[in-house]
Symmetry: C2
Subunit: 410 residues, 2 copies
């Protein structure tokens, strides 16, 4: 069982979580619980590290001391939940990353789990003790605290389930994975099941239910993951939620399973780029060297013979850096100018059914055209199509696509 | 170097601490720094544990999960100070209790340090890395976090100094140990030196500069401890403060070194107690079984032949429990009644010179009599005399005694 920050935001919510855990333990199954920091705590801690110099030149948030500070939030929640369960008469104890241990690499601030020797943890659980595990944290082979990046507690939970051979219930502030964001489209439907591949695309493309890496790990280890609401009473949970599973376990096939969107996009346009071999390579090597992740790319020949325009997208947070990098190349490559547009959004449709069905893209472009939404850039993979549009059209586009694929009829 | 909660209360103060540490490191000596939680943080964490059931029947603050929660505060400060020092271009890293390790017993919430294998820590310091150590915490031989009780960071600091063979500078919000509390007597003088024995009595009798256990440990290991103000600029520190040392290292002998007081007292009076052998033993055994610490005791025969009155003092926090215990014994022992008086204070004079000087008590009783202060209970040891008085007279008594022993003339 994994509970996120809003589910453990205060003592009253921690008591609610304790009741859900107690109900699960009453079924007789060994139970491990992964907890996040109380909502807001991680932000407070991160702000302090910024003040202490994490954001200063020469130091980055990947500092190992950053991890020492921010990992403390999960420690607090784990101790409080263990105390609450004991107070209800149950056997429980907290486990920090270094106690299990959850062995992680030393990429501090975004570490990856390498190994979880689960013997001590498993033995404690087999003796009837509920294990309360601090999420988001591991320990390096050097014995230093390492954190797994934002949303890392999801990954902790899936990794623990994989190590112990269990199922993983992610309790969150929504009651499952929806066909799209219900705050935008009230007709959004909860999916009873979704394939790992689709969930991976949904998470990468902007759906914030699960950390992308946790889905990768669930897929790699074939861990059955359920997304459930933590705002239910004990006993209600089993009928709710969304199950992540193999594609073949989904009986009712759909062409499209969901519509995702992200406003964390910025578009860079380079005008009048000389049409030589090696020019693109120069640009994208320089961006990679500056740690800028490039997402969508499109190149179009200009009307004049020897130059082209190029557009690509980056995360909003990297936009200024990307402009700096291309600006530095301007004299060298001899293009005419560069423009930045942060007023864009990426809208995507995702579905494993696309593999075997033609016409998915046609439906998408038609639906957007009917609403007068102009498509700026397109990118596709085997199971998704993404388009970049003007940000103001985001909600309109999401609703149009949700209807066009009949997702409100599920 | 040890810095308490008010010295690291926010990022600006942490930067001030970093400058003091940098100045010390610049002298070329290996430096270890022990830090407390940011002021207020431990109280916040303790309040959460109360809410989660630490204060509930059947669970006590000695719960091991209580320690998991409250130890997180020092972790945060240690990480932030290490980051700040790195940002100034220095080599530094944080050390948690479990990383050094600081091995403690499993009396959670008030654990005692058993051993500090200082090899890894010492090697890191010898390589020029400043060690930033989370105070107040150790780890049991079972690998669980254990905290050392309120003020435990002082003990952490002395223990680290003992393990590494160093001197221990305790930076605090006062600039040393005073002849009495300067908030009560503006003529209080800072002592340049004080013997371990005197400091131990001062700490036990109410002076809040150092945790009692840290003084015991300094005395046992002959660690040179200095109490200094953290509100000085780098470079100023060496001329300031108070040095704890052996009695023979103090050239200027004093009969009395200080006046301490405590308002954390409550007096229990038992009336008409049958004057049989074994009655006192029954009472104090029952109190000990209920974990009530008894401090001062006096027994007086009543005018009628066969009964006596008894008075004893306990900490205010134990007062209700003490009354419960004696109430339960009433029918059995057949005394007439019990009364509780929480309106009392203990005032003490401390000095190693008492051993060789007569008349110290006479001076005390005379000074108090002149001010009309009534003495309720007296207790003495080789180097201190304590009296219990009505709480309202506390300041008056402290000032009268401070003058009577000429402490404003030092």
């Amino acid at each position: 069982m994994k509970f996120g920050g809003t589910s453990v935001a205060d003592l009253e919510r921690i008591r609610r979580v304790a009741r859900l855990v107690a109900a699960e333990a009453a079924t007789g199954k060994p139970v491990a619980v992964v907890v996040s920091a109380m909502a807001g705590k991680t932000n407070e801690l991160v702000a302090w590290t910024d003040g202490a110099g994490a954001a200063a030149p020469g130091l980055t948030p990947s500092d190992d001391e950053y991890d020492v500070v921010v990992a403390s939030g999960e420690q607090v929640t784990a101790g409080l939940l263990a105390m609450t369960l004991r107070n209800m008469g149950l056997k429980a104890r907290s486990w920090m990353g270094w106690q299990i241990p959850i062995i992680a690499d030393d990429a501090h601030g975004r570490a990856r789990i390498e190994d979880i020797p689960g013997e001590a943890l498993g033995a404690a659980m087999d003796s009837g003790e509920i294990a309360i595990i601090a999420g988001f944290q591991g320990v390096t082979r050097d014995g230093r605290i390492a954190t797994l990046g934002r949303g890392g507690s999801d990954t902790s939970a899936v990794a623990i389930a994989a190590a112990l051979g269990g199922v993983c219930d992610i309790y969150t502030d929504v009651d499952g994975v929806y066909t799209t964001d219900p705050r935008i489209e009230s007709k959004a439907r909860r999916l009873a099941k979704i394939s790992y591949e689709e969930m991976l695309e949904m998470a990468s493309l902007g759906a914030k239910v699960l950390q992308t890496r946790s889905v990768e790990m669930a897929m790699a280890h074939r861990v059955k993951v359920r997304v459930l609401s933590s705002f239910v009473e004990p006993g209600e949970a089993p009928d709710q939620g969304t199950l992540l599973c193999d594609e073949e376990d989904i009986v009712e096939k759909r062409i499209v399973s969901g519509v995702a969107y992200s406003r964390d996009e910025a578009k860079v346009t380079l005008f009048g780029l000389p049409d030589h071999p090696g020019v693109s390579s120069r640009i994208f090597s320089a961006l990679a060297d500056a740690n800028v992740n490039v997402d969508m790319i499109v190149q179009a020949h200009a009307r004049t013979a020897d130059t082209a325009n190029m557009e690509f997208t980056v995360g909003k947070r990297d936009a200024a850096r990307a402009m700096q990098v291309v600006g530095d190349l301007k004299g060298d490559l001899g293009f005419e100018g560069a423009a930045l547009d942060e007023d864009v959004a990426k809208v995507s449709v995702i579905g494993v059914g696309m593999r075997s069905h033609a016409g998915v893209a046609k439906t998408m472009f038609q639906a957007l055209a009917e609403k007068g939404v102009n498509i700026q850039v397109i990118s596709t993979s085997e199971i998704k199509i993404s388009v970049l549009i003007e940000s103001a059209y985001t909600e309109l586009a999401v609703r149009a696509l949700h209807a066009a694929y009949g997702l409100d009829q599920l």
